[in-house]
């Protein structure tokens, strides 16, 4: 299945794109999604513990399953205000 992966701030700079189409196995979880990205981008792996994932505009739990066609965002530490 395919998802739209979004990257922001420092994560975007490491990946080199604000948006990518990513192929994932059926039943892939938020954790599996980040594992796959960190395997591909070592610099992102260095920030692994500070990353969160949002699925379709809301924070996801690590075991949440990603649906085909979802918008999945890598959320670095937020710094609003």
């Amino acid at each position: 299945m395919r998802v739209r992966a979004l990257f922001f701030a420092g994560a975007r700079e490491i990946v080199g794109a604000a948006e990518l189409t990513v192929d994932l196995a059926e039943g892939c979880t938020a954790r599996g999604f980040v594992d796959a990205l960190c395997a591909q981008y070592a610099a992102l792996d260095a920030h692994r513990s500070s990353l969160r994932v949002a699925i379709d505009g809301a924070y996801a739990g690590w075991d949440d399953v990603i649906a085909d066609g979802a918008e999945v965002a890598v959320i670095p530490p937020v710094a609003g205000g």
Partner: protein
């Protein structure tokens, strides 16, 4: 979520009502220095804010709804600015109205604390040694 200077009066007008005897306002303002990784301060000349826009708006709405449900009688509003901000510019305006000041202060404090913890907005600090994303420590060494 706005890109131009925040209209504080307009944000306050969103919560003003006849039965509210208190309106609390918090402004988050760009200051001229920030702590570095070693706890020293360094000068800041410019802050660039970016947002995951649809989620930022949705998350701010969820926070407002949660606090309004938790503290009866309170009404909240928030405006956050994105883009390039200079020292002295307001980045965020949080307002809370309530029948009495106690609930208004508590709700406004909780609102800004939740925004800082949860809303997908990032800022890049520019100083004499370059620029880095706040909270993304290795970035300062890597660029």
């Amino acid at each position: 979520l706005v890109e131009s200077p925040i209209d504080v009066a307009a944000t306050m007008a969103l919560v003003a009502r006849a039965d509210a005897g208190a309106i609390d306002l918090f402004l988050g303002v760009v200051r001229d220095h920030a702590p570095d990784a070693e706890g020293r301060t360094w000068p800041v000349t410019l802050l660039e804010y970016e947002a995951y826009r649809p989620m930022a708006i949705a998350e701010m709405s969820r926070i407002v709804a949660e606090i309004e449900a938790a503290i009866p009688g309170v009404k909240l509003a928030v405006t956050h600015r994105v883009g390039a901000l200079k020292v002295g510019d307001a980045a965020v305006a949080c307002v809370a109205s309530a029948p009495h000041r106690g609930e208004a202060f508590v709700a406004c404090r909780r609102l800004i604390d939740e925004i800082k913890a949860r809303v997908p907005i990032w800022k890049r600090e520019h100083g004499p040694d370059g620029a880095y994303w706040v909270g993304w420590h290795d970035a300062r060494c890597g660029h």
